[in-house]
Assembly symmetry: C2
Homo-oligomer: 199 residues x 2
């Protein structure tokens, strides 16, 4: 109980559900918002409503954007022959921060996991195979996390694409064992991309 | 650049201004919001807009609430004879979590600070003196942080109230030197309140 009224209680409760925030930091965040109503709370409320109203998944790659196709898929300056496969949008953003990949992406939406009951059809794997079968892609770069499930998923995808005329590579040097892309610095990701090896 | 569109950029930038969130955790929070649009993003946007539209400072004590007077000032079951003075609303909430104080509050809105140019008139100190002069309050409990500025402020208030027929106490046992109320566990605050000593 904060004695701040049920609207404020509710706001704290919702903020506390965000990753990285607990009840205490949610309370502090809400007090900061209230103190900076015009500079922070009002703009944040508007930005949230705007994103909630406009954000959607790209129909091609699974990235998020504000139209049927994302900014990357629509960018005419990017190469159609290189396709980078990532687990989720956070990893796509991490790759982009590396600033060295200029092809297209495919966001799986997770990794295969027997434990969590995630099979190929729960991910964007059938759609990946279909994209490769269209024939324009020359190289598929698997930029999956160096976790057990990430590597299982990479092997599964490699098997599925084996019969297709596409070069299959993966990020290599620089990704630490058990490491997650989104926690790496930008230079490490660039180095791993440059040193990518054939599977 | 996240390639997520300028609306998403803007949302991340605003989230990153919250205490406890940096650019990376703001990105993660925004992705979590987008993933849980109906369960989290929409309710959070509504809750923020509602709080932004309704929250205000209590005209009596400086607590926040949704009317001219806060829930604590309006509560008929609380004692009018005990007044607890705190630095800010976070400290009031921390006191309330201790569940042992059943009087009223006075939120100063900060502490005296020569360095930051904060004098008595920048705080709710004149209003505190006026409340005490009204005569209903028998005891003023100073629940200020055990910091240099907090203790300077306590001494200043003690001087100002000296000539008035009111008992002046402060939280004692349990508040560590340099400690801030909002970081203490609830039991420590209760113990400090119970062992409060006369100034
Ligand atoms: Zn796309
Ligand atoms: Zn009040």
């Amino acid at each position: 109980m904060t004695e701040g009224g049920k609207e404020i209680e509710r706001l704290i409760e919702l903020m506390a559900r965000l990753p990285g925030l607990g009840p205490r930091s949610a309370r502090r965040a809400v007090l900061a918002l209230i103190k900076k109503r015009e500079m922070l709370m009002d703009p944040l409320a508007r930005a949230l409503a705007e994103v909630a109203a406009t954000v959607r998944e790209c129909e091609i790659c699974g990235n998020i954007g504000t139209g049927p196709r994302c900014a990357i898929c629509l960018d005419p300056k990017r190469s159609d022959t290189e396709l980078c496969v990532v687990e989720d949008v956070a990893d796509l953003w991490a790759m982009e921060r590396g600033r060295s990949f200029r092809g297209r992406y495919h966001v799986l939406g997770g990794v295969l996991s027997a434990l969590d009951g995630v099979g190929p059809d729960e991910l964007r794997i059938p759609r990946l195979i279909a994209r490769v079968e269209e024939g324009a892609i020359a190289e598929v770069i698997l930029a999956l996390n160096a976790t057990v499930d990430g590597q299982t998923t990479a092997h599964y995808i490699a098997d599925q694409l084996e019969s297709l005329p596409v070069e299959l590579t993966s990020l290599a040097q620089g990704v630490p064992v058990g490491g997650e892309l989104d926690y790496l610095d930008d230079g490490t990701i660039s180095a791993a991309l440059r040193a990518r090896k054939r599977l």
